[in-house]
């Protein structure tokens, strides 16, 4: 495994972890969606770097799919955010807890 791939994978894990941090630490729905996007950039980087390492187009192919997923999630997530904001304080996801226990 070449050096840059290891570095890229480490950074990808970092991106993923940062996104996870955002997901756990932030209470605003919007921030959480942003954190999700950041989480997804981790695998994106990893795929592209691995593709470059293997000289294989499949890495970039998977990147495209990740991108599609990110786009879909943003679309659904933002629509949901707008809808939620009518019912609840979407700035604080902790208040959205009718379903529990």
């Amino acid at each position: 495994m070449s050096g840059f791939l290891t570095a890229a994978l480490v950074l990808a894990a970092g991106l993923f972890a940062v996104g996870l941090f955002g997901l756990v630490a932030r209470r605003g729905v919007l921030f959480q969606i942003i954190a999700l996007e950041i989480m997804l950039t981790g695998p994106a980087l990893a795929f592209v770097a691995a593709g470059a390492h293997h000289g294989d187009p499949a890495g970039q192919g998977m990147f495209v799919f990740v991108l599609v997923l990110a786009a879909s999630e943003v679309a659904l997530g933002l629509a949901l955010y707008l809808r939620l904001a009518r019912h609840a304080d979407a700035g604080d996801s902790d208040t959205i807890r009718e379903l529990r226990r």
Partner: protein, 169 residues
């Protein structure tokens, strides 16, 4: 490590820093700007890795389209100073736990990666022309691409339903 590799690593590291800043900004707009910065850095890294198509798509769609949608949404809500202060207070109240958690997830990943058999191969990224990518996507992967479009349709249907006016038809 080749020069391209070093540059790509540098760019990705920048992206990580930008993302880290993004998740810690109390102001949504600032956060979004840092996200864009991070995405652009990543795009630069992609270019350095010889994945030109990925870099381009990243800039156009990710940093361009998706973030634009974000910004539109952000503009519909007000984020006045008190909202920012509230956000800052919330973040200040609970960032240590999540940080520890993040390190907990990261630690085994880093340990595993760094323990791995590094330094094999010539170390240089191999560029992949967009043409071979196209051959792949519209050749053997055609079904997957179709399915990805179905994914978009599903998201679209959901978003459309959610966006329906209250008490709409």
């Amino acid at each position: 490590m080749s020069a391209a590799g070093i540059f790509a690593t540098w760019a990705a590291a920048l992206a990580l820093v930008a993302m880290a800043l993004a998740v810690t900004r109390p102001n949504v707009v600032h956060a979004l700007i840092w996200v864009v910065a991070g995405l652009l850095s990543l795009a630069a890294g992609f270019f350095a890795l010889g994945a030109g198509f990925a870099g381009a798509v990243q800039i156009l769609i990710y940093a361009g389209a998706i973030i634009a949608v974000f910004v539109f949404v952000v503009m519909t809500i007000d984020s006045g100073p008190e909202a920012i202060a509230r956000e800052r207070a919330r973040l200040a109240a609970g960032w240590k736990g999540p940080l520890v958690l993040m390190l907990l997830v990261l630690a085994p990943a880093l340990l595993g990666l760094l323990a791995g058999p590094g330094g094999q191969g010539d170390g240089a990224p191999l560029p992949v022309p967009a043409r071979t990518l196209g051959m792949l996507l519209f050749g053997p992967w055609a079904l997957a691409v179709e399915a990805a479009s179905a994914m978009l349709i599903a998201a679209l249907l959901g978003a459309r339903h959610l966006a329906r006016r209250e008490g709409g038809r």
